[in-house]
């Protein structure tokens, strides 16, 4: 999912870098209310865990692999604003240290994985938890379903960027069909990992889980 340099032209990449920058600035402000002495360590751990698990590509179909994006996972554990910041740190590390994700594409990648993935994952989680009447036992399931939906959503982010400023001359419909189909499959892996990780934290320290303890916040956002 990490876009390299060259797939999307510079003007489009720059525009998305500005959008992503605005999203990160808003998140820096928004994250403050959920970060305190108790939750800041979990936020650091979440970013670190996502970095580690993003290294673990799993096979999804003949000759194709996928890896966790982690947007829904982070949003459920530490809240959506802190999740965007976590994904941004992970993407910066990957681009700067590991040559993964182009440096001119950093805004595109933060936008798709750190903003679309986070918010689609979190909104889906809230909606599904509402259907389950906010029960504790369903938090990992709702997180898994949010994770599942976040992956094709982030893939659609790429398709939009390709439609605006793709350097390839191939049809957007073809890119959409291929991206969406492949990432639905990767979403299944995302769901499993997200469900297991959220389940493990819920079982040991449910008091730290943003998507569980902040039910009130969740209700207000929904209005």
């Amino acid at each position: 999912m990490h876009i390299p340099d060259g797939f999307i032209d510079i003007p489009t990449s720059t525009a998305f870098a500005a959008l992503a920058g605005a999203g990160v600035a808003m998140s820096l402000k928004g994250a403050r209310s959920s970060l305190d002495d108790k939750t800041a360590p979990l936020a650091g751990l979440t970013a670190t865990f996502i970095f580690a698990v993003q290294m673990l590509n799993f096979p999804v179909a003949a000759g194709t692999s996928g890896h966790l994006l982690g947007g829904a996972l982070a949003a459920v554990l530490v809240g959506p604003f802190t999740a965007t910041l976590s994904l941004t740190v992970v993407l910066l590390m990957q681009g700067l240290l590991f040559a993964d994700g182009g440096l001119t594409a950093i805004g595109l990648n933060v936008f798709n994985m750190g903003i679309i993935g986070v918010w689609v994952g979190y909104a889906s989680f809230l909606l599904i938890q509402k259907i389950f009447s906010g029960r504790k036992a369903t938090v990992p399931i709702a997180a898994a379903l949010g994770g599942f939906l976040s992956v094709p959503a982030a893939a659609v982010g790429f398709v939009i960027q390709y439609a605006i400023g793709g350097t390839g001359t191939f049809s957007v419909t073809a890119v959409f069909t291929a991206m969406f189909g492949t990432h639905i499959l990767i979403g299944i892996g995302e769901a499993i990992i997200t469900g297991l990780a959220v389940g493990a934290v819920m079982a040991s320290r449910s008091d730290l889980v943003y998507g569980f303890k902040n039910k009130k916040v969740a209700l207000e956002i929904r209005k």
Binding site: M1, H2, I3, P4, D5, G6, F7, R32, L35, D36, D37, T39, A40, P41, A43, G44, L45, A47, T48, F49, F51, A52, V53, M55, L56, N57, F58, P59, V60, G63, T64, S65, G66, H67, T82, L85, S86, V89, V90, L92, M93, G95, L97, F98, A99, D100, G102, L103, G166, T167, G168, F170, A174, V175, A178, M179, T182, L185, S204, R205
Partner: protein, 98 residues
């Protein structure tokens, strides 16, 4: 679970995943790479600015043992991500009143 035990176990799992399990990760192209290859725009990709970096592509330059190379890269990545994100979240957190 006590906070201390929780964080120590979680950090251990994270290091084991990045430092050990990463060796077994699939090396097939990821979703976007595969789509770009199948459709034909993979050639538009430019080499990464840091493709000669010491840790490029999750391997330590000059280390031939694949298991060691990816494992050390993973551990360095975990420590670097932990330091940067932990530092950021520590800085922007609400200070608790004494």
């Amino acid at each position: 679970m006590k906070s201390r035990n929780f964080y120590i176990s979680a950090l251990f799992v994270t290091l084991a995943l990045a430092g050990g399990a990463s060796y077994y990760a699939s090396s097939s192209p990821d979703g976007l790479e595969k789509v770009a290859t199948d459709i034909g725009f993979i050639d538009q990709a430019k080499p990464h600015t840091n493709s000669d970096g010491a840790l490029a592509d999750y391997g330590v330059k000059g280390v031939d043992n694949e298991r060691l190379s990816v494992g050390v890269a993973g551990v360095v990545g975990v420590l670097a991500t932990g330091a940067v994100s932990g530092g950021l979240f520590f800085l922007i957190r609400r200070k608790s009143a004494k």
